[in-house]
Amino acid sequence: MEDRILEHTRSEIGSRLLMSRGTRRFRRLGALAGNAVLVTIASSSLIALLFIFYFIVRDAIPFFRLEGFREFFTSTRWYPSREEAEFGAAAIFTGSALVTAGAIVVAVPMGVFAALCLSDILPFSLRQVVKPVIEMLAAIPSVVYGFFALVVFAPLLQRQGGSLLSVGALIVLTPLALIGVAVAGDLISARFREQARPAARISSAVILLAVVTYLLFEIHRFLGGLQIASGTNALNASIILGIMALPTVVSVSEDALNSVGRELREGSYALGATRAETLLKVVVPAAKSGILAAVILGVMRAIGETMVVWMASGNAARIPKPWFNLLEPVRTLTATIAGDMGEADQVTGSARYHVLFAMAACLLAFAFIANLVSELIVRRSRKRLG
């Protein structure tokens, strides 16, 4: 309000002292035109988005009018090219959900820990090296990932899938198990009296180590004995998608962790907390909503990826038995749209053409909702942190 009064006064004074009326009017029109151009440019992206929404939803509605909702969402029989076509996309939705969930399991723990390392643990010189390397992962084209998954990773899974899985599981589980043993040993020995504590600590550590070693050995034997019949399956797609979503999760989480601020960390250290306590109990909970936003961005990246899943997920429209068996081929929404695009012509097949738009509309709706949720979370956290 003050600015406007000041501006008006200034222009009035300026105009009366230095400019003629014509120049004044010209100046004002110029400012108005400039504003209009900027607003148009800024809103063009909004207009583009509205157009995309409109055209996709407009062409998706005829499918639902022709075939109804029930078969699309509940049936698992996908035979669009036959004369008595069946458009059951439930298996395809499940496939999308499965590979996305798998990608999140791969990307989020690794990503959040990487972000934690980058923001709090690594020395500055190492950070300067590691961060660009992680961001390089985002620069690799998705078709290169898909090619790698099809030509290198799939045969690898078929030949040595079991041993790969067991080695991967051991690499992840062994440090966690050792930490767990140490923590549990401390907790158990705390229940004993002062004199008995060292003995309690040693004996509990020995017993727990034995149990953990046995469990890890069993896991190694189970996973090592797995025979993967077909390397193009949900696991392949999940791992590659996880690697693709990793840079997004790391970047946004690291931003969230950095924005927590030094005061919180310094206060925690000043109260005598160790670094681990500070990180796990103060910093991460404070950055919780930012990390959640990062996870949602990773989800959106994984669910919208087309080339990788089209080449490497097997494209079999069925729900694996049991539903969490990632070693079977699945089909995703994006791969179906890409794969069926050629035949599904507006002229030659009506429902077959519109069903692809129906799938696109579902993907758009999901992306929209996920974006909205992420935005609300970030806004709520910003309000709380002040």
Partner: protein, 279 residues
Amino acid sequence: MRGSRIITALAIVAIAGWAMVPASAAAQEKIIIDGSTTVGPIAKAFAEYYMSMNKDVNITVSESGSGNGAKSLINGMCDVADMSRFMKDSEFQAALEKGRTPVAHVVAVDGLAVIVHPSNPVKGLTVEQIRSIYTGQVTNWKQLGGPDVAIVMISRDTNSGTYETFESLVMNKEKINEKAEYVGSNGAVRQRVQSTPAAIGYVGLGFVDRSVKALEVNGIMPDMNTVSSGIYPIARPLFMFTDGYPKLGSHLYRFVTLYLTPKGQEIIEEIGFVPVTKY
């Protein structure tokens, strides 16, 4: 200072303009070809040969599937549509509605080879056995004389002519089992089969090489003679569709009738298909 900068800018613009002139001065006739990944190699080889014989023609070949090729021809986006199946009634209708008359030229004959991994001991199958594999009735190789492994079925995506041929000549209108994996091209089928010991797939005859093993179908091995004489049960003609019959003597006409010349048939044989005539 400012003067030298202006001169530099003008020089760059002049050189760029001069570099672009030769490309536009040779007014080239263009032929755009789109369609099947099976016929694509033939079109590409023909294009290379034809362009080397005639410098004033520029031929571009894309391979986006028979369905896409027909669509492009109907919409006027290409001059020649490669298709590994005949045009459907609905596609013909659409073309006529848009004022185009598709004319078919049979450039070669293709056998659909059923391939397995080289380590698979099975030598041959009947059409009924292949059908029972793909409908999911037979699920293990040991039921067919092979090792005790579950069969991994590889199929082409539904937008390909190869799939349509397989569906009409082998599947006999029955549904392919939901466990079948779908890939996007002949090359992808071969890649999957050569790296998966338990896999079975189908490709155009031209895509069979040492890395996979072709099976006998009904006792007949797919090769040049059995396919061209029609003895091999899974064989199909390969088409190039044009809009109307091309004007005699035009580049399009000479390109599209290359398959009748000895050199064209040599090219077709080199790629692994069967020429329509014995030259």
